[in-house]
């Protein structure tokens, strides 16, 4: 369905991504930058997860902030309080988040469009409130610390771990998108009524994509807890739901590069202009409005459109699919 960019360009990008921490490690400021990139990649994973429901089934979900936090807390609690090892804890965190996602999806996916967005946002607010009040679960303001195995002590090691996860998530998403299951999902986004008329249960597919999406964002949350070394209630903040949505829209929905570009690009940018403090979001908001009106397909989508237009004009004829 959607082409993913030339293999050569990918190779170059991957090479840069791999080389980056080695270069940055050489300076003290560079060492700090590594963490910025690690966290940016974690947000990219979260954005890719939202892409699965928004880009591919067309449902705007605003609960991913909550699921991110649930993944983070599930991981932290497993490692610290239950005493499970690092690796199984990550998997458990993903499964817990996916299960919760499934349970939330069951009632809420019967609603459509803005209703669904509002329901998921409400869910997020509730989760945030619950975590703030149930301090036995969340550790209150102090939060919950996380001890990670010593071989993950170095920043650059964790960077590579997250990079590997990002690549894995990209591969999984690509596989889904290009599969027959993927065709069900884009059908739902394109014309839900017709999808039902051709024998596809839109509810079941939405629920499936929602559950997988929650699995992935749970992973992002767990990695976040690992990187930060601790979690507190802000991790379930509903604002995160908005940020992820924005990264996705500006980067480009329904593409694979879009979420990555959007998340890493914007997150990095916001970190860079920390000095502007509140006004960062002013610019952010402005960009969002401008992009959604003039570039609704996001940056990557806009580039693709330009590419298609250029191809049409100077042309290769339309290629048959693989």
């Amino acid at each position: 369905m959607k082409k993913y960019g030339k293999p050569a360009a990918l190779f170059v990008i991957l090479a840069i991504a791999i080389a980056l921490p080695l270069l940055l490690n050489m300076s003290r400021r560079g060492k700090f930058q590594i963490q910025v990139f690690t966290i940016a990649m974690i947000w990219a994973i979260a954005t890719l997860s939202l892409n699965l429901i928004l880009g591919y089934t067309g449902q705007a979900c605003l609960a991913h902030g909550a699921f991110f936090g649930i993944g983070a807390y599930a991981f932290a609690i497993c490692v610290e309080r239950v005493g499970i090892n690092f690796w199984p804890s990550i998997l458990i965190a993903c499964l817990v988040t996916a299960t919760l996602g499934f349970l939330v999806g069951l009632p809420s996916l019967r609603t459509k469009g803005p209703y669904f967005a509002i329901v998921t946002l409400c869910f997020n607010v509730i989760v945030y409130n619950v975590f703030e009040n149930w301090t036995w679960l969340s550790g209150g303001i102090k939060g919950q610390t996380v001890t990670i195995p010593s071989y993950l002590g170095e920043r650059w090691v964790r960077y590579y771990l997250v990079l590997a996860c990002l690549v894995l998530v990209l591969i999984i998403e690509r596989q889904i998108v290009k599969s027959l299951l993927g065709s069900s999902l884009i059908a739902i986004r394109s014309n839900e009524n017709l999808t039902e008329a051709v024998g596809i249960s839109s509810f079941r597919n939405k629920l499936l994509s929602f559950t997988v999406s929650c699995f992935l964002v749970g992973l992002a949350g767990a990695l976040f807890a690992m990187e930060k070394g601790s979690v507190d209630t802000t991790v379930t903040n509903y604002l995160y739901s908005f940020y992820i949505l924005i990264y996705l829209l500006i980067g480009g929905v329904a593409t694979l590069a879009g979420p990555v570009v959007g998340a890493i690009g914007i997150f990095y940018l916001l970190e860079r202009i920390q000095s502007l403090k509140e006004f960062r979001f002013l610019i952010f908001g402005l960009i969002l409005v401008v992009v959604i009106i003039y570039l609704p397909m996001g940056v990557v989508g806009g580039i693709k459109q330009f590419w298609e237009w250029a191809k049409d004009k100077w042309g290769k004829p339309a290629e048959a699919p693989e």
Binding site: A117, C122, I126, G285
Partner: protein, 286 residues
């Protein structure tokens, strides 16, 4: 017993604010099919404008009320024209995103200039005792003010030509266009009326509560809850839902706990939408 009664009155006061905001939202959502998430932030701007006028400018409260309503009506029209109009053909998620962009912009703007919360003096700083309870006059002003505006809105809709046109649009947008009602003028008018009502709510409530940049966010969510439950475009639904939510919330705060008060409204919404995905009163399908 009088404690209970007091909570009811407080609930009606709380509800008044919800009703005014929800009315605007149900008009916009019901007639124009736009998820105007930024409505709460227009409310917030109304409150800050009041502060500027009253505290910095020394303007009389009642005059400030009128100015705020007028100014925000204009702001509403601008928002409709500059932001939502270009997005007319695109999927509704786009307007939703644009609204989020506005929210970020407005909140950052205000927070950057004035992050700490502010207070506005009450025009009539007295309490009054009736039927065994003691209450600040301002709270009663809120209640009275809301009722006045609701009545004015009803008169406008039922008795004026413009109002009838709006009602026609609410029932059937295409039909209304066919009989010559200018959809673009009506859109502007709807936004003007809705935002003016939000401004009224803000000005009425400001002396009782405090003014802060985030005051619009949770409010707009609750207004959406009310609109969805009451039925898109249904004025009666917004009024009924608004007061009901206000009273239930006041009772919940008093008798259960104030920590979960927001959760309450949202929990109810999720449950109801789970059972009836098109809202309580049906109305327009989402």
């Amino acid at each position: 017993m009088s404690f209970f009664f007091k909570q009811i009155v407080i609930g009606i006061q709380l509800g008044s604010q919800y009703v005014l905001v929800a009315l605007g939202l149900t008009l916009i959502f019901g007639i124009l099919d736009i998820s105007h998430f930024a409505h709460g932030h227009m409310y917030m701007i109304g409150a800050y404008l009041l502060y500027i006028l009253m505290v910095l400018g020394g303007v009389n409260y009642w005059l400030a009320l009128i100015i705020c309503m007028a100014a925000l009506a204009v702001a509403g029209v601008i928002v409709e024209r500059v932001i939502y109009r270009p997005l007319q053909g695109s999927p509704s998620i786009n307007s939703f995103i644009a609204a989020i962009g506005m929210i970020l912009f407005l909140e950052a703007l205000v927070r950057g200039i004035q992050p700490t919360s502010l207070n506005v003096p009450k025009p009539i700083d007295r309490t009054v005792t009736f039927l065994g309870i003691t209450m600040e006059v301002q709270r009663l002003i809120v209640i009275a003010g809301a009722i006045i505006f609701i009545v004015l809105l009803q008169l406008f809709i039922k008795r004026t030509r413009l109002g009838t046109a709006i009602e026609a649009m609410a029932q059937d947008r295409e039909g209304a266009a066919l009989v010559g009602i200018s959809v673009s003028r009506m859109s502007a008018l709807t936004f003007a009326v809705a935002t003016a009502l939000a401004a009224a709510a803000a000005v009425l409530m400001a002396p009782v509560a405090y003014i802060a940049p985030e005051m619009g966010s949770v409010l707009v969510l609750k207004a959406f809850v009310i609109v969805v439950l009451g039925g898109l475009g249904s004025i009666k639904g917004a009024i009924f839902g608004g007061y009901l939510l206000g009273i239930l919330e006041a009772l919940a705060i008093a008798y259960i706990s104030s920590a979960y008060k927001d959760v309450f409204a949202f929990g109810v919404l999720i449950i109801i939408l789970a059972i009836r995905p098109t809202g309580l009163f049906g109305g327009r399908e989402a």
